[in-house]
């Protein structure tokens, strides 16, 4: 039971990390809090579903197209909307939340509700791990999560584009003086965040189903993880995902599923009380030191 809970807690943590990492990356680089993140996650899932079921494309091609389309939507969102309100935090939040709301409610209005909206698992088998059966999809989620974190580290530390990302994240004005086109990099960061949301949806949705309501859940979970970890910190996202992921599963196993959400919220409150910027955040670093 204990080992089984640990196994599923790890899986839950990686799922949370995948949901949050795109949101965090966008904020960390461009400073844009993309409140359409959950909607982009659902958008990509519905696009995959449509390509798969309406056009009859193979799943992997549908998934690839949906990731590309969602990435493009992210870029367009920045070029046509966010660029005009860049730097005005409240306007950015309202604009992105509005776009997200429009996407989700449009699908609801068009009748995309029902249990048939789901995506197939990649490989349909399960393994006996630490005393419990775990399906291949969940194992793939953990593997993808690890690969993604390593890939992002390589990208941001060993490619010129990645270094430009880090440059604008550290100091946008200085990056500008060094010839980095900050608007272009910000566009890429929003689109990359959208693409990561789509990637997460492609691998997580087969465990459940697609519904507009899921978009709000994903946004809330991503926000919770990023706030605990510290907005903009990839390391923070990883640690926070594991804190919430383990808290949820252990509460579920040893207290009651009824308390799962409360314990998670309590974890957020405790962390924020002790460190208002989150575990690895820097927004209020100076105030915290003083």
């Amino acid at each position: 039971m204990f080992l089984g809970t640990v196994v599923y807690a790890v899986i839950n943590s990686v799922i949370l990390m995948l949901m949050a990492i795109g949101f965090n990356l966008t904020f960390g680089i461009s400073g844009v809090a993309n409140f359409a993140h959950g909607a982009l996650y659902i958008l990509s899932a519905y696009v995959s579903w449509m390509l798969l079921n309406m056009l009859g494309l193979p799943f992997f091609i549908s998934a690839l197209f949906s990731i590309l389309i969602t990435t493009l939507v992210g870029a367009l969102m920045y070029r046509f909307v966010l660029i005009r309100v860049r730097g005005q935090v409240l306007s950015e939040v309202i604009a992105t939340f509005g776009i997200g709301l429009a996407i989700l409610e449009l699908f609801r209005y068009l009748g995309f509700v029902g249990f048939e909206y789901t995506l197939p698992v990649f490989i349909d088998t399960s393994f006996f791990v630490a005393g419990v059966y775990v399906d291949m999809q969940r194992i793939l989620i953990v593997v993808l999560g690890a690969v993604l974190v390593f890939g992002l580290w390589l990208f941001t530390h060993h490619t010129s584009l990645g270094l430009a990302f880090r440059g604008i994240a550290q100091d946008e004005r200085t990056a500008l003086t060094l010839g980095i086109d900050t608007d272009w990099i910000a566009t890429l960061s929003v689109s990359l965040g959208a693409g990561l949301a789509a990637l997460a949806a492609t691998i997580i949705i087969p465990l459940g189903s697609i519904s507009p309501g899921e978009g709000y859940d994903v946004l809330i979970k991503a926000l919770a993880v990023c706030i605990i970890g510290g907005l903009g910190s990839t390391g923070g996202v990883i640690v926070a995902s594991f804190i919430i992921g383990f808290a949820e599963r252990f509460t579920d196993s040893y207290i009651s599923s009824h308390w799962t959400m409360i314990v998670s919220l309590a974890a957020i409150l405790i962390v924020l009380t002790m460190k208002p910027s989150g575990l690895f955040g820097k927004q209020k670093e100076l105030e915290e030191r003083i």
């Binding site: 039971m1 089984g4 249990f115 059966y133 465990l207 519904s211 579920d252 196993s253 599923s257």
Partner: protein
């Protein structure tokens, strides 16, 4: 001169159109039926469609006779979103009041999705005196409230199954499992909403405790829960032979998938909304063989050759909308409610709400769900024989993807078969 001729022609056409008598059904003012519910949820969407289907059928026959005049029905729907997580009851009530004030309906059909919204909405319904035939919200709390002040709340009827009747079906299925296989250890997993809490509590009180079953676990899951691994691990560790789920949220499909992949050696018997419709076989990759599920009302997502009206309704819905019913709760009573309302209005001979209520109380109709009558709490009476009462159904998914009705005996098509890995104790 030309302008004068044109003007004269327009005047002539206008006057002609006013003085020419038309057929009663087109000239008469339509009777508005309001459908305020969670249209974005499957049960709400398909119930709304079932209402529209019944209205189309009635209108095709000329409409409803009120005081000697044939009047058509007209449906006005509003999405009150009460089933969505995080939507406060007050917001749902605003939608309910809005449609009453703006559309001036003669009656409401389907109504609030969540019992929490229904209970609070009963005061609005009483305030505006609009008869309501609810077909989704299930908590018996509304009947208790009605019985507490019948004169005030008499406008509220429920045509669908309620939690009390669902308990009879769940208890009946458990008794059958106990009799056939000797199982008596159950793990209860339910959604943390009023009707599901009430149902789980009632089954424990009226059946499990009295019949000597051991409840090895009872878990309430917040709406939106998407991981049931801990509960399933506990069910396995505690040796549960039966898992009784009670859920109506879309995410509950994950429970079935996890039950299958985690290979929990227990039979799943209860209600999981995504498992009800024929489409579940494909959705769950043909791996739900053995699972037993409740369909709350015969006709909703399943039909029976033993009740021909259920087959006619089920088939017609598929022809009309190009897709079979998937919601195991709502559509059949919604369809029936329109006919019950039409008959009550015709008997009353007016749209006076008190007169309609008086006639609704006298309802005795053989239809899709069997025989429909209301009790003193204005709840449709459910039993086990469609000739005597309305009926619910319990079916089992076979290994080949067919749904076989196993309970009640009056409409059963086969016997319960155990899924692989689970052996009978008898």
């Amino acid at each position: 001169m030309n302008r004068f001729v044109v003007l004269l022609s327009i005047m002539a056409v206008t006057i002609f159109s006013f003085v020419t008598p038309g057929t009663n059904s087109y000239a008469a003012e339509p009777i508005i039926i309001a459908v305020p519910t969670s249209l974005g949820f499957l049960e709400g969407k398909e119930s709304h469609r079932a209402v529209q289907m019944a209205v189309t059928e009635i209108n095709a026959k000329g409409g409803v006779t009120v005081g000697g005049v044939k009047r058509p029905f007209k449906v006005a729907a509003i999405d009150i979103r009460d089933a969505a997580r995080g939507v406060p009851v007050t917001e749902a009530l605003l939608g309910l009041e809005k449609i009453i004030l703006e559309k001036k309906p003669a009656a409401i059909v389907v109504g609030p999705f969540r019992s929490e919204a229904l209970m609070a909405g009963m005061d609005i319904i009483a305030k505006y005196k609009v008869p309501m035939l609810g077909t989704i919200a299930m908590s018996p709390g509304s009947e208790k409230k009605l019985k507490g002040d019948p004169e005030k709340y008499k406008y509220v009827f429920r045509t669908c199954l309620n939690a009390v009747h669902l308990v009879k079906y769940l208890a009946g299925t458990m008794a059958l499992i106990n009799k056939e296989f000797g199982f008596n250890k159950v793990y209860v997993m339910h959604q943390d909403v009023a009707w599901a809490r009430a149902t789980a509590g009632f089954v424990k009180k009226v059946y499990f405790d009295k019949a000597g079953w051991e409840i090895v676990g009872l878990e309430a899951y917040p709406t939106g829960t998407s991981d049931f691994s801990s509960g399933l691990m506990k069910a396995r560790a505690k040796g549960a032979q039966v898992i009784m789920p009670i859920f109506d949220m879309p995410q509950s499909g994950i429970l079935v998938k996890q039950w299958k992949t985690m290979r929990v050696p227990a039979i799943m018997t209860g209600f999981i909304s995504p498992l009800a419709g024929s489409g579940a076989w494909k959705i769950f990759d043909k791996k739900i063989g053995g699972a037993i599920n409740n369909i709350f009302e015969l006709g909703s997502a399943i039909d029976s050759a033993k009740v021909p009206q259920s087959k006619i309704f089920y088939d017609k819905y598929k022809r009309t909308y190009g897709k079979a019913l998937q919601a195991g709760h709502g559509p059949a009573p919604s369809y029936e409610s329109v006919y019950i309302l039409a008959e009550a209005i015709e008997r009353a001979g007016s749209l006076d709400p008190d007169a309609i209520v008086a006639e609704l109380e006298k309802t005795d109709r053989n239809g899709v769900m069997g025989r429909v009558r209301y009790d003193e709490g204005h709840q449709a009476i459910f039993g086990f024989d469609p000739k005597e009462t309305a009926v619910s159904t319990v079916f089992q998914w076979t290994k080949t993807g067919k749904r076989v009705i196993v309970f009640p005996a009056s409409i059963a098509e086969g016997k319960i078969e155990l899924p692989p890995g689970l052996k009978s104790l008898k």
